[in-house]
Symmetry: C2
Amino acid sequence: MANGKPVSTLLQSSYPMMGGDGPHSYIRNSTYQKAAIESVKTSAKKAILAKLDLKTSIFNLSSYRIADFGCSVGPNTFDVIENIIETIKLKHQQDETNRNNHENLEFHVFFNDQSDNDFNTLFKTLPRYHIDREVFACGVPGSFFGRVFPRNSLHIGHTSYSIHWLSEAPEDVCNQNSQAWKKNIQCTNLVEEVTEAYKKQFKKDMGAFIEARAQELVPGGLMIILGLCLPDGVQMIRTWKGVVHEMIRDCLVDMAKSGITSVEKVESFNLPVYFPQFSELKEVIEQNGCFTIEIMEEVKHPMEDMLLSNDFITSSYRAIFHGVIEEHFGGGVIDELFDRFAKKLNKDPVDFFKCQKDMQYFILLKRKIY
Amino acid sequence: MANGKPVSTLLQSSYPMMGGDGPHSYIRNSTYQKAAIESVKTSAKKAILAKLDLKTSIFNLSSYRIADFGCSVGPNTFDVIENIIETIKLKHQQDETNRNNHENLEFHVFFNDQSDNDFNTLFKTLPRYHIDREVFACGVPGSFFGRVFPRNSLHIGHTSYSIHWLSEAPEDVCNQNSQAWKKNIQCTNLVEEVTEAYKKQFKKDMGAFIEARAQELVPGGLMIILGLCLPDGVQMIRTWKGVVHEMIRDCLVDMAKSGITSVEKVESFNLPVYFPQFSELKEVIEQNGCFTIEIMEEVKHPMEDMLLSNDFITSSYRAIFHGVIEEHFGGGVIDELFDRFAKKLNKDPVDFFKCQKDMQYFILLKRKIY
């Protein structure tokens, strides 16, 4: 700590969602994630009501500490937290012995994301937390692949649409001498070496995520994980998201041909994103051993059967991949890339009927009590 | 909370120090405050060692929660927190029964300031907190005149050079029909009505500050307050800071004459700053009744006897008053104002030998145990 080196230079690579509230910002382009969160609100509510046991000292509290990991800039994270708070209040209200204290409950709420996340925007757009004098908000900068809270300090953790982000692209796919070095920007699941490299990286990162949360949560504490994976046996390249990633790659290749970026840049670009198969995700959680899996189920995404418009796809992916693309290619390519992408998509739209479905999951873990 | 109105529109006025790390930023122009903090490091260390009683359950902990109120953007706040952490570790090391656990101590550290403070810069310049895996940093947006933490959640609070900032200029000095409406921008202590108006506002604000901390600190918790006041009987206008404030006022009057700003703007401008007299400060703390005053003493500021250079004064005041001036006059006046101020100061420098001294105080409060 005596060493004054800024923490940001020591952390893993970081790809924040597009900050601010401009037309390309994440704040204005996260409808897909919002729909997902909306759709599991009821699941989360039911799960917390069922698993929050006020008979134990752990949850018979007047003050709860709740964290959202990988919060980005809102507004989705605000909805998530509000839903959890309302549920805890309801639980206290329903409980005979605690009925009287539900009006005195206080909530310490922690918004976590990388230290280059736009916390200024997050803080300026906070809902009326402070005014109500019952919810106290904090920002927590740091990579969730490591500890960001003291031991036994959280009662409820939450993360949504975040653990498919790896801490970095797998070493092997970035190494030109490796068998896994292929001219793909993603794990398509077509080439075994590439799949293995991504699988290994995911196990490492997800293992670190689960281990950090195991230390941070109080015994009996709850962890909610919402996200996307693949049903067992489905290849990434067969899903519409896999198709979109390939299309982004094609645009980058075209841009290299036009001299806007270099072939080397494109060849060395690998998305630090991996959608695990359902059983694979379960395996990593079980291997950690600190949690019981209370719920792990598929939940239908409300937009699953919708034919997403090309504009919607373009603006969503621009907001999501802005950081990672800019980091690798520099600031000048984003406009050009997504102009080309929009054109390509209009010429050759995603055939949603031909694509296989990915899977949205809802997980509720309970920290074991030793 | 259901109401989505941003919190920033509901809070009191807020005048953050100049953000970023540019030539006029607070980060580069807070040497005076740094020197003050350095000078009381030893006092703070001694005080914590003496008052932290590991025999009580309150402080026989493996995890401490520490907050700095009005942290601005560093680096001063980082030094303050580091000093507190090192002292707690030392205390555990010195204690026979706790000697073994001092290596497992963890610290949850909270940096509080207004929600328009530049938290992005704060987070990007954090020292190696996270890497050491023992210190976990959070940002806490919100006015410290109200609650920003749950009840009984903090072990040690700290604030330095912040409570002379009022939540707003006193109502009476802003009201043209009031006896206290005078053509001053500060409380000079020359006009009784003005002094009374500022005194009243200070009592209200400082009272609210103390009451909020009384609720947030655990029983037995410590609150350190470092700042500037006036020795009993000394008028603000007789101190060098009072002289400087008057000089800023003179420049604004000149600018109104030149048509750069309006007479009305200057007449309606009142610095929301008040340096209480020593006994007045003590009275507000005692009136609250939730704290015992363990230490309340004058500490010499290391620059007290130095003749500060004109450049130093100009750049320090620019960084400090930037926010409050811009809020009232708009963005265009800062450069012009401080160009004029620098010229005026060079022509007619502060006569430090003729000025009376203000007083730097160090206060350690202990939350009473009921």
